[in-house]
Point group: C2
Amino acid sequence: MSYIRYDSTVASTLPLPSNGDTAAADAAPATPAFSPLYQQIKGLILQSLQAGEWKPGEAIPSEMDLAARFRVSQGTVRKAIDELAAENLVVRRQGKGTFVATHAEDHVQYRFLKLVPDSGDRDAEGPAQRDVLECRRTRATAEIARSLALRSGDPVVQIRRTLSFGGVPTILEDLWLPGNAFKGLSAQQMASYHGPTYAMFELDFGVRMVRAEEKIRAVAADGPSAALLQVPEGSPLLSVERIAYTYNDLPMELRRGLYRTDTHHYRNELN
Amino acid sequence: MSYIRYDSTVASTLPLPSNGDTAAADAAPATPAFSPLYQQIKGLILQSLQAGEWKPGEAIPSEMDLAARFRVSQGTVRKAIDELAAENLVVRRQGKGTFVATHAEDHVQYRFLKLVPDSGDRDAEGPAQRDVLECRRTRATAEIARSLALRSGDPVVQIRRTLSFGGVPTILEDLWLPGNAFKGLSAQQMASYHGPTYAMFELDFGVRMVRAEEKIRAVAADGPSAALLQVPEGSPLLSVERIAYTYNDLPMELRRGLYRTDTHHYRNELN
DNA sequence: CAGTGGTCTAGACCACTGG
DNA sequence: CAGTGGTCTAGACCACTGC
């Protein structure tokens, strides 16, 4: 492997990562036409993250070590890590090191959940009570398949659950997960794990969600939904469809939620 | 004017030719109120932006010029500008310079409007048709005053309008603006300006919105709203309450919108 | 061509963490 | 104390823009 320097000259070849990625290089190098050195370094670190060379919560090598490994200066590694940190893929801690981000340590417990109580203080209401209504293996419909970049009929896991705050059922959601990546996921497991669901996905299945997209609508509650959320049929509910992605923009979860917004609201910040 | 250097020593007054860093005769910094140099520089640039030293769309001085002005290195100015650019306060253009961000040039026409057609292609539907229903001077209620950091009874401008896409009324919104900052704003002006409303605020009133917060709920359409949006009474609508801020976290607009989400949806990206 | 932002390096020093 | 990330500098060179 070689880098294309900013001045369009080629640097020396490189020592590859310490131990071989035994698996065939399915994530083949993109052979970029050209990008700044620090972007290439960023890409290499990203590959190691995807490959699981460092697990969520673990420290990655120091800037100096990475600089030596990639034969660039510390400043260049630094800029690469800066971007990874800006994307929440990695967390810097002065005096300690740089760590692979994990949903298990986000003391903002629910990083992707934007629903907050009208008081604004999510901590005040305590942790959500989760009730798993259903958890079954099934096959992807055309629509589900499209969202998850699968083929129709591919195996998926479907979960239905409610989240309650202060005893009030507030969220009803369905999750669809690629069956191959989530073999063995059970209702038991969904219910018993304490902490963010995405943390469990990391620990038990090695799937780390790094970003998500949501489509939000206002809808009227149908009969079953209204019953589960304990609101009159026809009540306005927030419909939130989320697709969550791992590294490489690979979709790994489709989630359709119905939120009650009589005591909570969806909070968004625009920059 | 003096800076507090990173090493907690004070860099005297301005005339410091080339700092040797060696002469560090530091008296005990009683209350350092310390922040990195580049943050201080960022703050100074921010002050100039607020003060209107450079207007939206104009170029700010080059990195070299600013480095000379503040007696720091280009790299330090660069890091300050990097953060300003990350916050969308400023736009860098290689070979040309760094420019004060403006809503008039955002070729993403509506930077704060997250409602998109279900097709996903906002450009395809063309520009919104705006109909101003009302524009009057009034006095702030307690609630409006709190949102805008005013006192109850302070003058405010209230505007009510609809936005239609492809002839279909899709958004009904009320705007409240501090009366003192928006003297002379008329329905005429709201209706005749072509381009983003926030661009007009910049040009005609020198008020630039830099960020906003939104609270989103699902609600049932009341009679008047339903009529204006041409939907049945009781239809679910997305309620979007936005507070937009200028520099200094000063709230300058309260906006309450009702969105039809039968052909559009609110799109959000989570990182 | 000169001027701008963008990249990269090398080195120094500071602040924080842990043993 | 050594090791880590964080700051700052000085200088070199590249890529883009406009004259």
